[in-house]
């Protein structure tokens, strides 16, 4: 693949609009490349790179790079799931508050588990999980439904039809249920980190209202098995 000429790029970069306008689209010319934030990719010496990586590096020398979004981080502690969850907790763009709530939640989980750990007898100490990130990921995985329901109208009547869910949809539903549960069903005086840490620990042990909601959804899907053939995709 010969690298395109710089002059041609300069002419075509200005005022580019696609022929069809999709719903979620970006204004960038397709020749723009994504920014690379991971330190490890820049620390590899030249010999270790494979062919495609070498080509990619040469391409980056001529092509323009998109601007880095504010959520892109080169920190070793950044986690995409935690960022997604923080964004979903955010209200009216107050990311500072959402992030501080998230860090207070993780700290609360860690404190509770560590207290339990230090009071437990020796043989039980290995069973207690103290890492808040492991608990968070496992709790989310436990809350994800396997099968979902969708409204399909046929012959004037709307039926709840069981449909398979994509991974993204499962993750979204799990996070949404957790946040909704913590916002609605808590005492006026309890703070969000306290309630969220409680719910995450319950979900980690496969208990709690969110897991119950998931089971209710599964039962409804099982009950509506007869309509599964209404799905055409």
């Amino acid at each position: 693949m010969a690298a395109p000429s710089a002059a041609g790029l300069g002419r075509r970069l200005r005022a580019w609009l696609p022929r069809i306008m999709p719903v979620r689209w970006s204004r960038y010319n397709p020749s723009y490349l994504e920014p690379e934030a991971k330190k490890e990719s820049y620390q590899k010496p030249l010999e270790e790179l494979t062919e495609e990586e070498r080509e990619h590096m040469e391409l980056k020398a001529v092509r323009p790079i998109k601007a880095a979004p504010p959520s892109l981080s080169s920190s070793v502690f950044s986690d995409p799931m935690i960022s997604k969850f923080t964004n979903m907790m955010m209200k009216s763009g107050n990311k500072v508050l959402a992030r501080s709530l998230m860090s207070q939640t993780l700290e609360a989980i860690k404190r509770k588990q560590l207290e339990k750990y230090h009071k437990a007898p020796e043989n039980e100490k290995e069973t207690i999980e103290c890492n808040p990130y492991v608990i968070f990921h496992q709790a989310l995985k436990n809350c994800q439904p396997i099968i979902g329901l969708s409204n399909i109208t046929k012959g004037g009547k709307t039926y709840q039809v069981p449909i398979p869910l994509t991974d993204n949809r499962k993750r979204f539903l799990a996070m949404k249920w957790l946040i909704a549960e913590c916002r609605e069903n808590k005492h006026r005086r309890t703070l969000m980190p306290e309630k969220l840490s409680q719910e995450l620990l319950l979900a980690f042990n496969n208990e709690g209202p969110v897991i119950k909601k998931k089971h209710v959804l599964h039962k409804m899907a099982e009950a509506n098995r007869a309509y599964a053939h209404f799905r055409w995709w």
Partner: protein, 382 residues
């Protein structure tokens, strides 16, 4: 526990602590951050950067108030109280050990940027003094006396001044917990009338004054004033040493957010508690020392970048405290940072897998700027 002691003995035989950190083999890299020397009187430069343990019963007896909130949470989570020995505290301890108590009390002002460990330095000094058997007058945060006060009464002793019964009774309760035996030994030197009926005779132990203040909350402020005055008058005799430890001393000479019933602002002189505390902090008495801390965090009407004594105390406060010995408290040195990081790792506070790596450690050091408070805040969710 034994492992830590052994590691320290080999280190102690090595001599200099910098040499010992290379001598001790890599199998126990974390144990050298602790020291088994629990008596602050024996802390020297060799223990710098290391953490010493305070038994939990002693914590409850010596610090009923005064420890920062996050440190109290840490004590509860880790089930132990470990304080780092740092240079500013060692400096003050050296001065206290060498001071002549026949001379007027020397004033020490601990200052530094936000979150560098001023309150913990003060607590270290308070622990040393209580171990040595001094009478410790610890005011945990003077800013609490000049803001957010729900009840302000006109003082019965002096018509111009205002009483704060709630704050005074809380302080009296904690003072009683920390200095039980002194309250029995020190006797009043004057007769005091509380209102129209209650009287405390001359020669009664101070404990009765404190009980009176706790029982009748209205006279708690006057009880505090009496206690301070009696202690100050009797300190020069030499039967006990007095340490006046005030955290946030810049509150005594600033403005308050309180207002009287006619909405006019209250200045600090008009508060009885502040007035009496100012008298304690002057150097016209002997037989002890005054160790104070400046604090911007709870201060009123001061910019957040102010940390030097001149900025925080203002002209009035600086003139009142002058001459004093300034003790700056810097951020963690590289060795102290290693020590704190090693402690968090050992207590399983840093749970993230990447936090154990060199990259994670470098990132923590960069993000916190070696500031103790920032490091604590960052290490919380990790």
């Amino acid at each position: 526990q034994l492992d830590r002691g052994c590691a320290l003995h080999t280190a102690a035989r090595g001599g200099l602590s910098s040499v010992s950190s290379q001598d001790v083999p890599a199998q126990r890299p974390r144990a050298i951050f602790h020291t088994s020397e629990n008596d602050p009187a024996k802390h020297t430069e060799q223990h710098e950067g290391r953490l010493y343990n305070i038994p939990l019963e002693e914590v409850k007896a010596v610090f009923p108030h005064g420890l920062p909130h996050r440190f109290q949470q840490q004590i509860q989570t880790f089930n132990e109280a470990r304080v780092m020995v740092r240079k500013p505290a060692l400096e003050i301890l050296a001065y206290l050990k060498g001071s002549n108590f026949a001379h007027p009390a020397v004033r020490y002002v601990i200052y530094g940027e936000r979150g560098t460990g001023k309150t913990m330095t003060l607590c270290h000094v308070v622990h040393y003094c209580s171990r040595q058997g001094w009478l410790v007058l610890h005011v945990p945060d003077a800013h609490l006396w000049v803001k957010n006060c729900k009840e302000l009464f006109q003082s019965s002793y002096n018509k111009d001044r205002l009483d704060q019964p709630l704050q005074a009774s809380v302080w009296l309760k904690n003072f009683k917990t920390s200095n039980e035996r002194f309250l029995q030994e020190i006797k009043t030197q004057k007769k005091y009338m509380w209102g129209k009926r209650e009287i405390t005779e001359e020669g009664r132990p101070l404990r009765e004054v404190v009980e009176q203040g706790l029982a009748r909350v209205r006279s708690a402020t006057d009880a505090v004033g009496v206690v301070l005055r009696e202690i100050k008058q009797q300190s020069h005799r030499g039967s006990f040493r007095l340490l006046v430890a005030v955290d946030g001393v810049n509150a005594l000479w600033g403005r308050t957010t309180l207002s009287k019933e006619d909405k006019s602002p209250v200045s600090p002189e008009e508060l009885t508690l502040v007035h009496n505390l100012r008298k304690m902090v002057t150097n016209d008495w002997s037989g002890g020392a005054i160790v104070t801390t400046l604090s911007q965090t709870g201060s009123l009407f001061k910019p957040s970048s102010a940390y030097t004594p001149q900025e925080l105390l203002g002209k009035e406060g600086f003139d009142a405290l002058d001459p004093f010995v300034p003790i700056p408290v810097p951020n963690y040195s590289p060795r102290e940072f290693e020590s704190c990081y090693g402690y968090y790792l050992e207590r399983k506070w840093l749970q993230h897998e990447k936090a154990h790596t060199e990259d994670g450690k470098a990132e923590l050091q960069f993000l916190s700027g070696s500031n103790p408070r920032q490091l604590d805040r960052l290490a919380g969710p990790l």
